[in-house]
């Protein structure tokens, strides 16, 4: 177990390194000059040069990358004009556009994204797996068809339309909830939950069809297996047979997919975040990409990468726990 975790840790570091290299590489393919963008549209050539110098963009790519790595291990210094600021290790550098420390920028925004991702995951698991189960139980019935149509509508509708519809319905038309504004969990857990409700629903609904279909098919798959017959033959009710035994077969793929989606939602729920004004890292990422703010992009991608890797380790552990036949090592 320890060995396994150590191994995965090594893998994670590798993944993150590759990620950062890829981003650095892509960055030099992407159009636009970050120094000019940071300086402003009407900056003179000298000013842009000064800014470039100040951002350390004058160095060759590999030197910049080395600085970046050194920053993670040993920290970096940065001038605000009046003073030298120190950014402690692990330092992901400073945003070109806002001068903020990327580490603190991400740390500030992580809770919001985590809130969104975790809550949405609960929703898509509940709605998705629940729907999948129900539709496996009541195959061919009205319930199944209605549920299928509902989840499919969620998936077939882009998030920006789904979210806007929910907003219009719940906040503007019915006025059940005020328009959501993000309240940190630490400030007021209750308000946090109320305000996150719509974003969770939006993202959760959008993802849930995938889980519904997956659960349904895996459940049906398992229902066809011999051991199900055993439990039926012992008078175990259909509900328990499906819920306990057939569902169990659906657990591994659902776990595998959840890990994946959790990872990508961590970095990519941009549309939901901007629609509901959640100060998460997804928005930073898209802004970073638009403004060629390399440190922010690298930072966010590394955090996302970490989320992906961690989610996968957790998924693999859960998976091995769920299916003991699969060996970890």
């Amino acid at each position: 177990m320890t060995r396994y975790l150590l191994k995965r840790l090594g893998g994670a570091v590798l993944v993150l390194l590759v990620l950062s290299v890829v981003i650095y590489g892509l960055f030099y393919l992407a159009p636009g000059d970050p120094a000019r963008l940071a300086c402003g549209e009407r900056c003179s050539t000298q000013q842009v040069a000064q800014v470039r110098e100040q951002l350390g963009l004058g160095d060759p790519v590999y030197t910049q990358y080395a600085h970046f790595l050194r920053g993670i291990v040993a920290g970096r210094d940065y001038s605000t004009g009046t003073a030298l600021l120190h950014c402690d290790a692990p330092c992901l550098g400073f945003s070109y556009q806002t001068d903020q420390q990327v580490t603190s920028l991400i740390l500030d925004r992580l809770p919001a994204t985590l809130s969104l991702a975790l809550g949405a995951m609960v929703i898509w698991l509940v709605i998705g797996v629940g729907t999948g189960l129900l539709s496996a139980l009541r195959r061919g019935g009205i319930t199944e068809r209605a549920l299928t149509v509902l989840t499919l509508a969620g998936t077939g509708t882009p998030v920006f339309i789904l979210g806007l519809l929910l907003l219009m319905l719940v906040c503007a038309y019915l006025q059940w909830l005020p328009f959501p504004t993000y309240v940190p969990f630490t400030d007021d857990p209750e308000q946090w939950a109320w305000n996150m409700l719509l974003p969770w629903l939006t993202l959760g609904l959008f993802e849930s069809a995938k889980y519904a279909r997956l659960t349904r098919s895996s459940t049906l798959e398992t229902l066809a297996e011999d051991h199900i017959r055993t439990f039926r033959a012992y008078g175990v009710g259909e509900r328990a047979v499906v819920g306990r035994h057939a569902l169990r077969g659906a657990v591994p793929p659902v776990i595998a997919l959840s890990a994946l989606d959790f990872g990508s939602v961590m970095g990519g729920a941009v549309l939901t975040e901007s629609l509901f004004n959640i100060p998460g890292i997804g928005k930073s990422l898209i802004d970073g990409v638009r403004e060629i703010d390399l440190p922010v992009v690298v930072g966010v991608v590394l955090v996302t990468g970490t989320a992906v890797v961690v989610a996968n380790v957790v998924a693999d552990l859960l998976y091995a726990a769920a299916d003991r036949r699969v060996a970890l090592l």
Partner: protein, 343 residues
């Protein structure tokens, strides 16, 4: 690997030679599929959509419109360009009304949009599934090193935000590179992590089973085991997942249009129409409902078909075809309730 006989062809030949036709597994699955009414209906709907898309120029000629001509007189410029007339400007000339702001004919645009949407979504899904299955299988079947390398590679791909790559790509890809192909490649090459994860997970479980051991003993190499033993069992989750990837790809195509990797204007696509219709759903509901409705029908048809294919691939399901209507079936036994002990 020595030459591998082709699966469907084998059935045909064998059938000719031997007294009792020995249909291949694929053939039998096909037969089961055809027996499902839902599958036939779904396939019919999809077929119709494809035909409509292919016949777009023809139908446009019938209506007497084309996809790109502006009709400034048909929109109310003072009110944001909303189509004049009810139901988004439906008229004898414009059967489904016109697009706000431009007055372009919606009927024709929807038809042409179907081409791009179906092509991109289906193409991207195929690429995703091919890569995902290949990587997942190799990862699940390969030795630990290969598994580790591929899994970490998958991690990298998942963690790479698609939009970063998409933007970098626009800078590199020449302007005249066919956009639908670019979209297929961008989505297909970047977003296969889910498929690969599912396939790997299933492979790990399946490969513990005796029938895989038996196949290994039969001299099947990993590739053969994968193809003959695992793929049929993987087909169910993969097909189900693909049926859901497809609509997601249609939606993704819309988002990529925003980033400039989408189809080039004035070429329409449902996703693009939907994203520009975003704000119109109160002022001109038709504009939203048409692409959304088509998208939904497509999604539904693909899902139903995916379900049917999944079931058809499972021989054990054959006997359970009509569970929902079991009670009303008129088997001889059912006619006499006292004799029927199966319901």
């Amino acid at each position: 690997m020595t030459t591998l006989p082709d699966l469907p062809a084998s059935g045909a030949k064998a059938g000719a030679a031997v007294a009792v036709p020995a249909a291949s597994d694929a053939r039998q699955a096909w037969r089961r599929l055809r027996g499902r009414r839902s599958a036939v209906v779904a396939a019919g709907v999809l077929g119709l959509l494809v035909v409509l898309a292919l016949a777009a120029p023809l139908l446009a000629a019938v209506e007497g419109q084309d996809a790109n001509t502006y009709h400034d007189a048909l929109v109310d410029s003072a009110r944001g360009g909303v189509p004049i007339g009810s139901f988004g400007g439906v008229s004898g000339d414009h059967w489904l009304g016109v697009e706000p702001g431009t007055g372009r004919d919606l009927f024709v645009r929807l038809l042409y949009g179907a081409r791009v949407s179906l092509l991109v979504a289906a193409g991207a899904t195929v690429v995703q599934v091919l890569i995902g299955v290949a990587v997942g299988l190799a990862s699940g079947l390969g030795n630990r090193l290969l598994d580790a390398v591929l899994s970490r590679f998958t991690d990298v791909m998942i963690a790479l935000p698609m939009l970063v790559l998409a933007i970098a790509l626009t800078a590199v890809v020449p302007n005249d590179f066919p956009r639908p192909l670019l979209l297929i490649l961008v989505i297909g090459l970047l977003d296969w992590g889910g498929t690969s994860r599912i396939v790997r997970a299933q492979t790990l479980t399946l490969k513990q089973l005796d029938f895989v051991a038996a196949a290994r003993l039969a001299g099947s190499g990993r590739w053969r085991v994968a193809r003959r033993e695992l793929l049929p069992s993987l087909a169910a989750p993969v097909i189900t997942y693909a049926a859901i990837l497809l609509p997601m790809n249609m939606v993704l195509e819309a988002s990529l249009s925003f980033l400039g990797v989408g189809v080039k204007p004035p070429t329409p696509s449902w996703g693009q129409m939907l994203s520009s219709a975003q704000t119109w759903f109160r002022a001109d509901p038709m504009y939203v409902l048409l692409p959304a409705g088509l998208l939904f029908v497509t999604v539904l048809a693909f899902t139903v078909l995916g379900d049917a294919v999944r079931a058809a691939l499972d021989p054990r399901e054959a006997g359970r075809l009509r569970v929902g209507r079991r009670r009303t079936s008129r088997t001889p036994a059912a006619a006499d309730p006292s004799k029927d002990i199966s319901s």
